[in-house]
Symmetry: C2
């Protein structure tokens, strides 16, 4: 632990906002708030405007000062107005700046003011527990954290957030499936320090239940039954909600691995990962050449959807593709998805080989099952794809038969092109496939690699074997 303290101090030096930074953000927030108050009044909407999120809780990172402004609306506002009027108001208040319309459970506006990202989000002003929309809890979250998180712990939250960002497990959106900022704060409230949090995760054993308000004091079992997730952090403002429900076990285990590695050998790189050095074209080609596997790239264009919807459909599609390949005996080694969330999406699936042997073994029923045996024999005795048999092996009817799909590319092409029962894709993906798709293998990806440095960085990291 000798090296630990200086390292953490160095990191804090880089991430804790100074007085001048705070002032700048404070000014910007208050200005925006005023503008929103004015716009609401103009529109005749009675709302409470509040600064929420990491700015309100003083847990923001110097290089990432997101401003979250919540417009708390009375229940008299209908859900339609909630969705549309507020967007109009937000747009007016940030006029002249870059604006992106975003969508989580409902639409909200993202604006960029002097390089600072601002999220303007509507919610209902409700009593605790009477939630009407997904964002209604946020002001209560801010309140809870402000009340319990003392000055010393705020920087521990910052360390944890920065570490999680560095190892790429930060963010509860579907794309990442990681830890939200609020979850980081609750973890520090529970474990009391950055290091103790890492120590806890390095010894992770499923399931971990954190229940700060002791909702389930004498009945841990109930909360365990209620949430089957690998990490359960009961929301202090809503005992029925697991704050960590978006966390995938992949991200959890990546944290476990990283926590162990960091505790064994502390290093600033965990917080500030070195940018990956993209393989040169020569290196790329020789990597494909030497690797001996087959890497399949399924390229789609123009899938238009907000990120959470897009990523939801991408993950579903990935699952279907992998199932299809596995069912046809292809051995999956690694897989990943890369997308610019606009015009280019690439599913990357590495298989041992994309060309399987011509022949395979197919086991029928055990001979004890008379009727099934007869059915099997009737089915295969005159089947032209049968090369050998039916004979008896391991007490079962067995045949050798020619594979229908020897080549993964033919398999994918056929199944992507035809509507069929065996594989179904979500709507957006299905539409994109109909519009255009390409299947590339290994170095056929070279042009794409050359033209897109983000993609190139991703592929480089994929080939090294620590996909992010």
């Amino acid at each position: 632990m000798k090296k630990m303290t200086p390292i953490l101090n160095q990191v804090l030096d880089d991430i804790v906002p100074r007085e001048s930074d705070r002032k700048k953000i404070e000014t910007l927030s208050q200005e925006l708030k005023k503008k929103l108050v004015i716009e609401c009044e103009k529109a005749g909407i009675v709302a409470t405007i509040g600064i929420e999120g990491s700015i309100a809780k003083d847990t923001w990172l110097l290089d990432d000062p997101d401003i979250d402004i919540f417009i708390r609306l009375p229940l008299t506002i209908t859900r339609e107005n909630f969705d549309e009027d507020i967007l109009t108001i937000a747009k007016k208040a940030t006029k002249g700046y870059r604006q992106v319309q975003r969508y989580a459970e409902h639409p909200y506006l993202e604006a960029f003011i002097n390089d600072v990202r601002v999220n303007i989000v509507p919610c209902y002003q409700v009593d605790i527990g009477n939630w009407k929309s997904a964002t209604d809890r946020t002001p209560y979250h801010s309140k809870y954290v402000r009340k319990h998180l003392n000055q010393g712990l705020k920087n521990q939250v910052r360390l944890l957030k920065k570490f999680f960002k560095g190892i790429n497990v930060y963010g509860a959106e579907i794309k990442t499936g990681g830890f939200s900022g609020y979850l980081c704060e609750l973890l520090i409230l529970h474990y009391n320090s950055f290091i103790k949090t890492l120590e806890a995760f390095s010894n992770y054993k499923k399931p971990v239940i954190i229940d700060l308000k002791n909702f389930y004091k004498d009945k841990k079992v109930d909360s365990f039954l209620l949430f089957s997730d690998p990490l359960i952090v009961i929301d202090p403002v809503d005992k029925n909600r697991n704050v960590a429900s978006a966390l995938t076990s992949e991200k959890l285990y990546e944290l476990v691995g990283a926590a162990r590695a960091f505790l064994r050998e502390p290093n600033k790189d965990f917080f500030f990962p070195k940018k990956i050095k993209i393989f040169s074209m020569d290196t790329l080609l020789s990597k494909f050449e030497n690797r001996g596997s087959s890497i399949l790239f399924i390229q789609l264009n123009n899938i238009r959807a907000v990120p959470d919807v897009l990523w939801g459909q991408l993950f579903k599609t990935q699952k279907s593709l992998i199932k299809l390949l596995k069912n046809n005996d292809f051995k999956i080694l690694q897989n990943a998805i890369w997308t610019d969330e606009k015009s280019l999406t690439v599913f990357i699936i590495e298989v041992e080989t994309h060309i399987l042997p011509k022949i395979k073994q197919h086991f029928g029923p055990p001979l004890e099952f008379n009727e099934q045996s007869i059915a099997f024999l009737l089915k295969y005795v005159k089947n032209t794809s049968v090369v050998s048999g039916p004979f008896i092996q391991n007490n079962r009817w067995t045949i050798l038969l020619n594979r229908i799909y020897q080549n993964a590319i033919s398999l994918l092409e056929e199944k992507l092109l035809t509507d069929n029962k065996n594989i179904r894709f979500p709507k957006l993906i299905s539409e994109a496939i109909k519009e255009n798709f390409r299947i590339l293998i290994d170095n056929e990806i070279a042009t794409l690699y050359q033209n897109n440095s983000d993609f190139a960085a991703f592929i480089t990291s994929f080939l090294i074997g620590k996909p992010s």
Copy 2:
């Protein structure tokens, strides 16, 4: 069942000995018996000479009139004399005819007189239950069958034996692992007819227990515990012996399949299978070409042993070879052994492909196991065969690494040539390997095929997919 009776009658016409056949065999048997009596007297051995086996029980097949002559010796004869003196006596009695020294539990003599095979076998004259050697039961078997098998049932035994021979499940020696003649007789005594026996086996469900003398009347469980074999036929002359103990489940299930097929569509071919038409060289080569698998032939020479010992060691070796290939990810489709029991033995193993992809996935421990995870990481982090990783997949540490053996032939050659812990061969095989071995693949077997018609017939049948 319309076709059944005429078919069985036709078969019986061909297999039941006529009066003239009986007379011929009877004469031959008596002459031999006399000669043996004389030779025993000469040697000063007091023995009872008796005709046993199918001749004694009148269950022999016309085309297969084996004469079994047993020399029942007093217990005063030592085991050494039993083994050696009796062989000498048997040789003298069959002087001038072809003689083969055989070995089951102890040596015996096989002689061929006018194309009739004669087995001259020593045993001890003991009371029931006081067995001193494995053959001591035989005279009691003959006695039991003679007493219980009525005239009508004898031909049912003949049908069953002939059927078993036709489908290649007849013979209790290790090579076949099938049904002995005595077992056929007991089955008919239990089921009462050939057809009823087939019906019983076509509905086979493990385990079947046949206990003619009701040794285990009220305690079936005991006999089940005593014998874990799939077919249990309690020997009427020895309640501790399962007459079907040599039966392999392969042969049992081959019978189940054949019984069903025969009952569905009775046909003389089951009793008199058509001789396999050996593939021409052109056909053979095109079969290898089109099949798309890899068939490996491991050829050994000069293994000298009596058949039971030889086959025991061959089966053990086959198991080791298959385990070796499986452990290295080769997918076994079919396998077989062919041997002339003298100068040529060939292990035949068909794999999906004999060349595997260069790369494979290797899973380490789940991340929950901290210490094992550290050990895995330490082992592989700097291992040069690792192509990618360690990364986390399915909550486990995972790496992609280069296979040590991509080629089944290199694997086999290396493991056959070097003494090592991973694969051990029985003594005779180990010696034969040291002397000489070859590994051939697919059409490299052509010369052997051309020079040996037995081998060619076997390979033809293997390729068709009903290995015998």
